[in-house]
């Protein structure tokens, strides 16, 4: 039995939406990071589904590509967070408010 591609695409869309809402709503920077990861994986799922539907390996290559990207991006992001937490106690996005205007 095969599952129709539209289910995978729907799941991808749902994951992407959860991630996007979380990124916009949550205050904790680490949770915001997790939401970014969730959205990346939703894009991965869509790529794999299209690769299967279109019989094209390009989509599967793209997934490896996105995984590497996610690792690189999170390394930089964690570096920034560590740099901030060394100087202040707050762990939320609302605590970074020195720059405005």
């Amino acid at each position: 039995m095969t599952i129709h591609a539209s289910w995978y695409l729907t799941l991808g869309a749902v994951l992407f939406t959860i991630g996007a809402v979380g990124l916009l709503v949550r205050r904790n920077v680490l949770v915001m990071f997790m939401c970014i990861e969730l959205m990346l994986n939703a894009a991965n799922l869509t790529f794999v589904t299209f690769a299967r539907e279109l019989n094209d390996t390009g989509g599967q290559v793209a997934v490896f590509f996105v995984l590497v990207v996610a690792a690189a991006e999170v390394v930089v992001g964690l570096g920034v967070i560590v740099a901030i937490f060394r100087r202040r106690v707050g762990a939320t996005a609302d605590d970074v408010h020195m720059l405005k205007g």
Binding site: A42, A43, V76, G77, V80
Partner: protein, 472 residues
């Protein structure tokens, strides 16, 4: 299909120099990190030579059609490499013997390579890879000095960049799913029969990612905070080089990847341009800190640049107008930042009081660069604005040109708020505020201001370099 690495010589020069510099920085003593600066400058000069050679050859698509080497890519190489050289020049003193001096140049080279690759990319996945190569080092550059404002600026820049990067990737998956290919010529053919709403969704998402790089509405939030919080060299970098890549990529994406008449992207870009220039110029009115004022001024300038993208493909004028304006904007904006780097203690507009009494030449450079940003003849941006307005009116967007002229007049106000105290007021009661940052930043300011005028006077010779058809 040509797979010759030599075709990518300028990009490879930057990347190889970055890797060598990163390894070498582990062994170099802190006082001898200037070697990495020399290496970075050498890579930029080498890249410029390779670009000059590439300009003589015919345009070609390399690596399975995923990368185009045509007049637009070569123009991007010249502008980005020139801009990187100026940034290296103005960062010599602020970063001298800093613990992270070598890393700054390494990240600068990588992000510049990413900006060039954004323009050359002829494939959605290559564009995304280039987007990340241009973005990830920039987050590091903004927060590199590890001060309080720097890390806050970096976090804001990073979070917004990650969000828009994923939105762009989502748009790319939709377009790839619809077209069954990621290469621009293939997409152009396949999307002609795809559902209109899905194509529009994918195109808007990809545009959102590119707008983040460009710093246009609605992805402009990072610009003032990243520029204000970062060191002056990093601020000079993020307001110029990523924008070159983003605008070049948007121009190619709209003209090459989307079938004509399927979605009305021109109107979308025109409205974005109108919002961007108006928001940038009006938000700049109330600023008192020089870096923040320059940040909003770049948002305004980007609005004018987006006008050229809006009429892309309608006539031959848009492309040469875009590249000429980009070159002119880059050198003028960097001249203003070089003046700011030369006066490290002056942070607000009132600190510049009486600058003309203390440093007449530097005040002259500031005047040339700020009046240049308004578009006063004979500076380069005057010709640039003339070119863009002509292209926009020919393209049928007269209302946009009228709005841009009104914005230009309005922008004079906040540039004069900076200039008038510098020239008319008596010598500063605190001359220490105007103490010099060093000879390199001053020399860069003079050189960039001179280049602004030369580029304006010699426009007739430079303009055709940005013209020439993109590869189909």
């Amino acid at each position: 299909m040509k797979e010759n690495p030599a075709a990518l010589a300028p990009e490879l020069a930057l990347v190889v120099a970055a890797v060598v510099g990163a390894v070498a920085s582990g062994w170099l003593p802190r006082r001898r990190q200037w070697a990495v600066r020399l290496l970075a400058a050498g890579a930029c000069v080498g890249g410029l030579v390779a670009t000059a050679l590439a300009m003589l050859g015919p345009p070609e698509r390399v690596f399975d059609g995923s990368y185009a080497i045509d007049p637009a890519t070569n123009a991007a190489r010249v502008v980005v490499l020139g801009a990187a050289l100026v940034v290296i020049g103005l960062s010599a003193e602020p970063l001298r013997a800093h613990p992270h001096e070598s890393e700054f140049y390494v990240l600068l080279l990588l992000a510049s390579a990413g900006a060039i690759a954004l323009v050359g990319a002829d494939d959605l996945l290559t564009v995304f890879a280039a987007y990340l190569l241009a973005s990830v080092p920039s987050y590091g550059l903004v927060g590199l000095l590890r001060d309080r404002t720097g890390s806050e600026a970096s976090l804001k820049y990073y979070l917004l960049g990650a969000l828009f990067g994923i939105v762009m990737l989502a748009g790319a998956t939709v377009l790839v799913g619809l077209g069954a290919t990621s290469s621009y010529p293939g997409l152009r053919e396949a999307l002609d029969s795809a559902p209109r709403a899905a194509v529009a969704f994918g195109a808007v998402c990809v545009t959102a990612g590119l707008l983040f790089k460009i710093g246009g509405v609605p992805a402009q939030f990072w610009v003032p905070d990243a520029v204000d919080g970062a060191s002056v060299p990093a601020a000079a970098f993020v307001t110029t080089i990523p924008k070159i890549g983003g605008l070049g990529a948007a121009f190619r994406f709209f003209t090459e990847a989307l079938p004509a008449g399927r979605v009305d992207w021109a109107l979308l870009v025109a409205v974005t341009a109108a919002c961007t220039m108006t928001l940038g110029n009006f938000a700049a009115f109330a600023q008192t800190r020089v870096k923040r004022l320059l940040a909003y001024s770049t948002i305004g300038q980007v609005g004018y640049l987006l006008m050229a993208v809006a009429v892309a493909g309608r006539n031959g004028l848009a492309q040469q107008a875009l590249w000429y304006y980009l070159a002119a904007y880059t050198v003028t904006n960097l001249a203003a930042f070089a003046v700011v780097a030369e006066l490290p203690a002056a942070r607000t507009l009132s600190d510049y009081r009486g600058l003309a009494h203390h440093r007449p030449l530097l005040a002259g450079s500031l005047a040339v660069s700020l009046l240049g940003l308004v578009g006063t003849p004979p500076t380069a941006l005057f010709v640039g604005k003339l070119e863009i307005f002509t292209a926009v009116i020919h393209g049928g967007y007269t209302w946009l040109a009228v709005l841009a002229i009104l914005n230009t007049v309005a922008s004079l106000y906040y540039y004069l708020r900076w200039l008038v105290p510098a020239f008319l007021h008596a010598p500063s009661p605190h001359p220490a505020v105007l103490s010099s940052g060093g000879t390199w930043s001053a020399a860069t300011a003079y050189a960039a201001a001179t280049a602004t005028v030369i580029l304006g006077v010699g426009a007739a010779a430079v303009l055709p370099l940005g013209a020439g058809h993109l590869l189909p």
